[in-house]
């Protein structure tokens, strides 16, 4: 609970929205590079599907993560209760 009350005027690199955009574009670039990299070496894999699609792991990760979040968002409709749910329940 030790909030510093004096105003913090120092500005940070991330405070600028443009810099956040830069990180975003850098991330897209890195992703593209990792997929390109697949074309330049011989993969040692257990299953042939890993070798057929360039960047298979990338697509898998992307789809997996999007599925995770959207599924969780739907789950929230079923599972979410107020913060004091359990206390309220004990009192009635």
């Amino acid at each position: 609970m030790e909030d510093n009350s004096e105003p913090n005027k120092k500005s940070f690199w991330l405070d600028n929205k443009k810099n956040v955009d830069k990180i975003w574009y850098a991330l897209i670039l890195i992703c593209a590079l990792t997929v390109l990299a697949d074309l330049f070496y011989h993969k040692h894999v257990e299953y042939s599907i890993e070798d057929i699609i360039p960047g298979m792991y990338g697509w898998y990760g992307f789809i997996g993560a999007v599925f995770l979040v959207l599924a969780a968002k739907i789950l929230r409709k079923i599972l979410m209760r107020s913060e004091n749910y359990y206390n309220e329940n004990q009192n009635d």
Binding site: M1, E2, D3, N4, N8, K10, F12, L14, D15, W24, L27, I28, I30, C31, T34, V35, A37, D38, Y41, K43, H44, V45, E46, Y47, E50, G55, M56, Y57, G58, W59, Y60, G61, F62, G64, A65, V66, L68, V69, L70, A71, A72, K73, L75, R76, I78, L79, M80, R81, S82, E83, N84, Y85, Y86, N87, N89
Partner: protein, 564 residues
């Protein structure tokens, strides 16, 4: 040789803590695990201090590569947790932490099931004080539920051990087949502490309620003792592959929507345990090595993550994602350590998770469990997502909450620094860890294929996060409680019991009213005939009575006369 059973020095030493004060106490406490690990460096494999009691041949200490590995990491975790708690002036928590760590170490070296049971229960009882020490009503109740479940697990273990003994004549803790009541009970006991799906709620219920320093202790010992016990008792049990795969996938959905960041970490802890359980289930040398290595690196990076979130809670008084953000501006070191922990948890190349988790995932692929392998990959991508991105992002970045807390205390920074250093050290030079694994390692983590595919997996799930954020599809952090399986025993079963109790009340009431009516009816009739004006209660004159008796007698005489 070995002079003292490992772990005992911490348990016995804990009782001397009240006699020291200030920094002397801190140094004294720190020396206990340092001596402990020093002792382990010189021991040789074997069984020590065997004795017989009530016909049971106990072997309290068994040293081999598997138990030593867990012994090392438990000591290291104790040292880190103690440094993190240097600022604490709470004797109860300090003693509880030491006894808890000592019991976990003792349990890892237990050579028989009875000794294991004793340490198993000590960990339960000592650790609950780390939860209760929060001194809130919520922590008291969560601690109670925790204690009941933990002690219950111990009771199952003991029952299973005794049945197993009577069937096999041996109490030695070794590989068992999952058949017969004894091993099944032991398996369930382990499963509770390892937080199998549907047996897991004590974990996400209690850990986030513990104190800032208590959660760091808790995250290291109980569940990993259970992982050790499973690896010792049930390697190669196929059911574990499926249980473990479910564990990796099931908690992560909760981790996405949970607002309490320490609870997010607990869900992610549960998910990491799943990887280890899969490794045990596969049961090959590669996969058991993977489980042991992953337990080792997991304890370290999970400690870093819990410590950084503990520091945030300590400085701001809250750990809810909806109330935090922008803390990197005033807590840069904590932010940095948290990111190291997050990168290790996500298995980034050059961090500890990469060189340990890949053993398990590779083992699953090599053994032809393609479906499980797919689940593990999905779980890996999402670990990065909720542990790697969500934790640092919502605490330290996102929108500025306006909070400007001080940097964490020096002792906390030191503890985080040591653990973060070890995460990187193991990641950069994995052979430190590989050399002490249970089996010889013939595995190279840093191949082009491994590194590139892992980077693809991670960067693309970061891309997914960024995309969902920028399009506004990402669900916001909301103050909420998300129902989990513990709802069944915290609300559903009590409600059912309430309904049963209410219906018994209603049945009782209607029965009562029926009985009342019957009684009233009987009563009315009784008073009609026997009451004041009732025919049977009337008084009459003496003469009348005599006349009546004589007439009855006369009738009798006449009857008897004709009878004879």
């Amino acid at each position: 040789m070995i002079e003292l059973p490992p772990g005992l020095i911490l348990i016995v030493g804990a009782f001397l803590v009240p006699f020291f004060h200030g920094n002397v106490r801190n140094i004294y406490m720190l020396l206990l695990p340092i001596f402990g690990i020093w002792g382990l460096l010189t021991v040789s494999n074997g069984v020590y201090f065997p004795f017989e009691i009530f016909g049971y041949n106990l072997s309290p200490v068994r040293i081999d590569r598997l138990s030593l590995l867990f012994g090392y990491i438990f000591h290291i975790a104790a040292i880190i947790s103690l440094i993190y708690a240097f600022h604490l002036k709470d004797t109860v928590q300090q003693m509880a932490g030491l006894i808890y760590a000592g019991a976990a170490i003792g349990g890892a070296f237990a050579g028989d099931l009875i000794t294991l049971f004793i340490y198993w229960e000590i960990t339960a009882i000592a650790s609950v004080f780390l939860i209760w020490s929060s001194r809130t009503e919520a922590s008291f109740k969560a601690g109670m539920r925790y204690l009941i479940i933990q002690v219950g697990s111990g009771v199952l273990l003991l029952a299973g051990a005794i049945i197993h003994f009577h069937k096999t004549g041996s109490i030695v803790f070794d590989k068992m087949n999952l058949s017969g009541l004894g091993p099944i009970l032991i398996f369930i006991a382990f499963g509770i502490k390892a937080a199998f799906p549907l047996l897991h709620n004590w974990l996400v219920d209690a850990y986030p309620e513990a104190t800032v320093t208590g959660t760091v202790f808790l995250s290291a010992f109980t569940t990993k003792l259970a992982i050790y016990a499973l690896a010792r008792g049930f390697p190669g049990t196929e059911m574990l592959i499926w249980i473990g795969a479910t564990m990796t996938a099931f908690p992560i959905f909760y981790a996405v929507i949970e607002n309490n960041l320490r609870r997010v970490l607990t869900y992610s802890l549960n998910n990491q345990l799943g990887f280890m359980v899969v490794g045990i289930g596969i049961g090959t040398e590669l996969s058991i090595n993977g489980t042991a290595a992953h337990a080792f690196s997991h304890i370290l990076y999970k400690a870093v993550l819990f410590m950084s979130m503990g520091a945030v809670l300590y400085r701001t008084g809250t750990i809810k994602g909806s109330e935090l953000g922008g803390l990197y501006k005033t807590m840069p070191y904590t932010t940095g350590f948290c990111i190291v922990g997050a990168a290790s948890a996500s298995a980034f190349p050059l961090f500890s998770g990469f060189i340990s988790k890949s053993l398990i995932v590779t083992a699953a692929a090599v053994e032809g469990h393609w479906f499980v392998w797919g689940v593990l990959l999905f779980a890996s991508a999402s670990v990065f997502y909720h542990s790697g991105i969500k934790i640092p992002y919502f605490a330290f970045f996102q929108h500025d909450s306006g909070k400007r807390p001080q940097e964490a205390p020096k002792n906390m920074l030191a503890a985080m620094g040591i653990a973060a250093f070890l995460c990187i050290a193991i990641g950069v030079y994995p052979y430190w860890l590989y050399d002490i694994l249970p089996y010889n390692v013939d595995y190279k983590p840093y191949t082009t294929t491994h590194v590139v595919t892992q980077l693809q997996l991670l960067f693309f799930s970061a891309l997914a996060f960024g995309w969902l954020m920028r399009t506004g599809l990402y669900p916001p952090e909301l103050k909420s409680t998300n129902l989990d399986f513990d709802w069944s025993y915290r609300v559903f079963i009590p409600k059912i019991l309430n309904i049963v109790a209410n219906s018994i009340k209603i049945i009782n009431a209607s029965l009562e009213s029926v009985i009342h009516k019957i009684l009233a009816f009987v009563n009315a009739n009784l008073s009609k005939h026997h009451g004041r004006s009732g025919i049977l209660a009337r008084t009459s004159s003496l003469g009348g009575s005599v006349t009546m008796i004589i007439s009855v007698l006369a009738v009798l005489i006449i009857i008897f006369y004709f009878e004879t």
